[in-house]
């Protein structure tokens, strides 16, 4: 750490802390997105047993990102992490058409929870690189996102494994927080 950055740390006001919740079905790409945000290596990812958490500084915010495992057995625990959430990020495997219905059901279950009332929603349409993956707009239609009226939402196409599109999504997150 250089002297300059230490000085800057001392003088600047502390960053505002935000709590981001990263949810979605298993194998959607949540941990990959988390690692991309933290600029970590993504070649050795394993299925998440329990959860991972990382703090990232971005745009004057300190983002505490909670990545909760997506397998069916773990989903009942999701609700334990809802409290004080600033942004909900929902990750969808755009090529996993078989489980499109399942992912939709889980999403609306989340949106109907009181603790997540008015919490802005970012949907990552992940794995755009895979053949016959749904585009972001098709996925938005399939998940019936335009029907959501009680909060701001955004859908962002991305290929997390190549680091494409993740940053754009986070820019929206920071913007919508500033508006609040």
């Amino acid at each position: 750490m250089g002297l300059l950055s230490i000085l800057r740390k001392l003088t600047s006001t502390p960053e505002r802390e935000l709590r981001l919740l990263l949810l979605g079905l298993d194998n959607a790409g949540k941990t990959t997105i988390l690692k991309i945000l933290a600029s970590e290596d993504i070649t050795s990812i394993t299925p998440t047993a329990g959860f991972n958490i990382k703090s990232v500084i971005s745009d004057g915010f300190k983002l505490n990102v909670w990545d909760i495992g997506g397998q069916r057995k773990i989903r009942p625990y999701w609700k334990n992490y809802f409290e004080n959430t600033d942004i909900l990020i929902y990750v969808v495997d755009s090529a996993d058409k078989k489980r499109l219905e399942e992912t939709g059901i889980e999403l609306y279950e989340l949106l109907s929870d009181d603790k997540l009332n008015n919490v802005p929603l970012l949907v990552y349409a992940n794995k755009q690189d895979l053949p016959d993956s749904l585009s972001a707009s098709d996925l938005a239609q399939a998940l019936n996102l335009p029907s959501i009226k009680d909060r701001t939402w955004q859908i962002q196409a991305c290929t997390a494994a190549q680091g494409i599109g993740v940053r754009e999504g986070m820019e929206w997150v920071c913007k919508s927080i500033k508006k609040k």
């Binding site: 050795s44 959860f51 991972n52 057995k73």
Partner: protein, 360 residues
Amino acid sequence: MQFSSNKTNSSFSSECLNKRLQQYSSKSSTCLVSLAPLSNIFHKISNNMYFSFWWVFTYYLRPIIKWFLRKTTGLCELQRICYGEVSGAPRVKAVEQSLNSSRSKQIRQLIDHLNDIAENRRFTGANEREILKGAVSTVLIVKKINPKIHYQFVIAFGKCVEQIWGYKQLLAEVEQLRQAQFDSDDLNHERKLYELWENLMPNEKLEGRITRQWQDIGFQGEDPKTDFRGMGMLGLENLLFFATEYKAPAQHVLSHSMHPTYGYCFAIVGINLTSMALSLLRDGSAKTYLYNASRSLPTIRLFHYFYSFLFYEFDRFWMECKPKDIMEFSSVRDKFEKNLRNSLLNSRMEFRIALNVENV
């Protein structure tokens, strides 16, 4: 964690040296060998403000001390290590450290040459003896050692070279296996998946390839293929080895994983432990285990044994921690890894699965 430290001080003896020289060399070697880890620390510190002082020490003073000991004992540093350190990890690590800090051009060339062989995994079979012979004779010439008098050094040093570059070769092999993705079209991959089921659940028949039953052994969904992720075939091979070579312990661990409160996902946790074993292998922490467990060229089986040890011990640790639910996995895992790394710091530690009779 169960371990036993039953290494005895191997003799410093070289029968052809007289007793006095023996005592002398053993004394000096202990003091010199302790320089190796010291220089390691100095190297780390050299990144900050003490830079110049330590740099001067390691760069100028160490060779002077080495020269002095060489003149007084008549032995080079490698000899002092091979005669003075107990066999296994303490000796192999010290030799490795000494070779890596060598400034001799021939030794550096030898290291590059051996690294190249290990990375391309050519350190096998008939090649092995040739390569070892070449490495030993290079050192004999550079260090002006008479192999007739120091035949024990020749044997001990050769074994060290075998372990050091066997480890590097193993790392290359393990990485290759990790990069191989599970492929449903590969019959061999599919067969291994079925074998895993049969070994873990011998009394239950699998109803199909895509079935919820996979969740019984801790996969996430109906098809395990997406669960191996970044660990690729290494994850499956690890699980399969544990389930076949340690059949009873593996089933015992599996039964714990089905516990109503302390239960966890056997396969998923297993794949996460593959990742832990790999990171320990990559950063060199696993050297203590491998150098102590291995009597010949380390093979992939040794890595599987290491993994099996990790899995069995993790299960025990998990049950002892009495976690509230699976959401405590990362904190329990981190604690387990910290303890394990602490134990691995002690080069004399030997690790083995402590099987209780009632478990088997």
